[in-house]
């Protein structure tokens, strides 16, 4: 069974002349890592937001067996870890440890603390737990926000531009880190090198439609080849890989 199933997803913003998402179909298997790649304003972020009910939608979204509806929205969201494009926006508490603990608010405090510290250590930011988010660097904030998303061990992680604003070292660290996380992922990104390192499948999205897909092999040669095909498509000088009619 897929951890994420999307059928005929349609999102239309008020006043827009065309839908932001039009008939999107996709599925993500457990522990599969899938990327959404496409030009600006192609609908990547809208798709991620639609999956957790942040925008009004038509069609069917099922996450970990729960169909998204007004009544089930909280249940669906509890099965998803979300990393927003600006990590600062999702860190809601003035101290790092409190923000990570928030995701475990239904757990016994002692257990929650142990778990939160373990995740912070795994992400290499255990020394920041008493710090205030606005004293952290961009990379550190991303890790803290990711800790808040991962600590509840959701079956699905949605990431919006996870490598945005990071330097090459920070990007490489994040890629290695995500490669070890045991859950399914759907990420929107412009960083082709990053998505080819982390993901096994890349969906091409343009004008609100999934128009193709690229399967990325694990060897470096395969990853480079996939990156080249994606780049050619992005630049408009190559065919659409795995064109979907």
């Amino acid at each position: 069974m897929s951890v994420l199933e999307v059928e005929n997803l349609l999102v239309r913003y008020p006043g827009a002349d065309r839908p932001a998402l039009d008939g999107v179909q996709l599925d993500v298997a457990p522990n599969e890592r899938v990327a959404l790649v496409g030009p600006n304003a192609s609908g990547k972020t809208t798709l991620l937001h639609a999956l957790v009910g942040l925008v009004p939608l038509e069609g069917r979204v099922t996450i970990d067996g729960v169909a998204l509806s007004k009544a089930s929205r909280a249940q669906v969201r509890s099965r998803v870890g979300f990393l927003f494009a600006v990590a600062d926006d999702q860190i809601l508490f003035p101290r790092v440890i409190d923000d990570v603990l928030f995701a475990l608010r239904r757990l016994d405090h002692g257990d929650a603390e142990r778990k939160a510290r373990h995740v912070l250590a795994r992400l290499g930011v255990s020394d920041l737990e008493e710090r205030s988010p606005h004293h952290l660097s961009l990379g550190q904030r991303k890790r803290v926000a990711l800790a808040g998303a991962l600590v509840a061990e959701p079956p699905l992680l949605l990431l919006d531009e996870p490598s945005g604003g990071l330097d090459p070292r920070g990007t490489a660290d994040l890629a290695s880190l995500l490669a070890e996380v045991p859950c399914a992922m759907l990420m929107a990104s412009h960083n082709l090198d990053f998505v080819c390192r982390v993901c096994s499948r890349v969906l091409l999205i343009d004008q609100g439609r999934v128009v193709g897909q690229e399967v990325v092999g694990r060897s470096e040669v395969d990853q480079e080849a996939a990156k080249d095909r994606l780049l050619q498509w992005m630049l408009g000088s190559g065919p659409t890989p795995g064109r979907i009619a």
Binding site: H49, V52, L54, A74, R77, S78, V80, F82, F84, V86, D88, D89, Q90, I91, L92, F93, P94, R95, I97, D98, L101, F102, A103, R105, H109, A112, S132, P133, H134, H135, G148
Partner: protein
């Protein structure tokens, strides 16, 4: 934010005061502030009392002399204009005449000096409190007091976002100035006029994004789960001292 010259920052000091229980910290500063407002600062005993209180509070918080002087300077700029009101504050013995405006009386000077001293003390003690409490301590400290939950949540969130908004404001004004709008008097006005025009939409967009994140993460006004340790002997002694200070202020006032 640290080391950027801001004169008042959350939880930046680590003096004796910062090691007290957060609720005790708040009660002590509140008690000091009440004491400073009770005495008449223009009398010798009252003046010495207020000055001593301010110095003790600043030292207990671990505030540097430089920052102490910065706060006094800001207070002077903010409150000293109260002396401009003296020609209109009549009563008492006339002291000297300002042409056109009229006579300055002893009562007028007393009132203006009281406003300046009390304003300075309130600013200083507020800064001491802010400097010795971070936003989490503040929320946890308030949680123990009979304050509505929603107020504590708002204080916590204000504490979380105020630094972000300040950084954003600084960025916008620097960008406008760098693009040449800050040169000369008219340029200065252009910066002043344009900052809100850029700031409001940007802050609104950020507020929307934060609201989305709160929604996705299921935030419903929860406070940090960390619980405070029970106040100890040092905390109890500090409250006792603060109450003695308050009692002392009442005695000085009644003399």
């Amino acid at each position: 934010m640290r080391g950027h010259g801001a004169w008042m920052q959350w939880g930046m000091t680590d003096g004796f005061l910062s090691r007290l229980d957060p609720t005790v910290r708040m009660l002590c500063i509140l008690s000091f502030l009440s004491a400073a407002l009770i005495v008449r600062p223009i009398h010798l005993a009252g003046g010495c009392f207020v000055a001593g209180l301010s110095i003790v509070a600043a030292v207990a918080s671990g505030m540097s002399l430089r920052r102490f002087m910065q706060i006094l300077a800001v207070g002077a700029v903010v409150f000293a204009p109260a002396f401009l009101l003296t020609p209109w504050l009549t009563g008492g013995a006339p002291l000297f005449e300002i042409p056109v405006l009229g006579w300055v009386t002893s009562r007028g000077l007393d009132i203006a000096a009281t406003i300046v001293v009390r304003g300075q003390v309130a600013l200083l003690l507020g800064s001491v409190l802010a400097a010795s409490l971070d936003a989490t301590d503040l929320a946890l400290g308030l949680k123990r007091l009979p304050i509505p939950h929603i107020v504590v949540v708002m204080v916590l969130q204000v504490g979380r976002w105020v630094a972000v908004l300040l950084a954003e404001t600084r960025g916008i004004s620097q960008a406008i100035a760098l693009r040449g709008a800050g040169r000369g008097l008219s340029g200065g006005w252009l910066v002043l006029a344009n900052v809100p025009l850029v700031w409001v939409p940007r802050v609104t967009a950020r507020a929307r994004r934060v609201a989305s994140a709160m929604e996705v993460r299921g935030y419903g006004g929860e406070l940090p789960r960390a619980s405070l340790a029970r106040p100890g002997l040092v905390d109890a002694s500090s409250v006792a001292v603060a109450l003695l200070v308050l009692a002392g202020a009442i005695v000085i006032r009644m003399r």
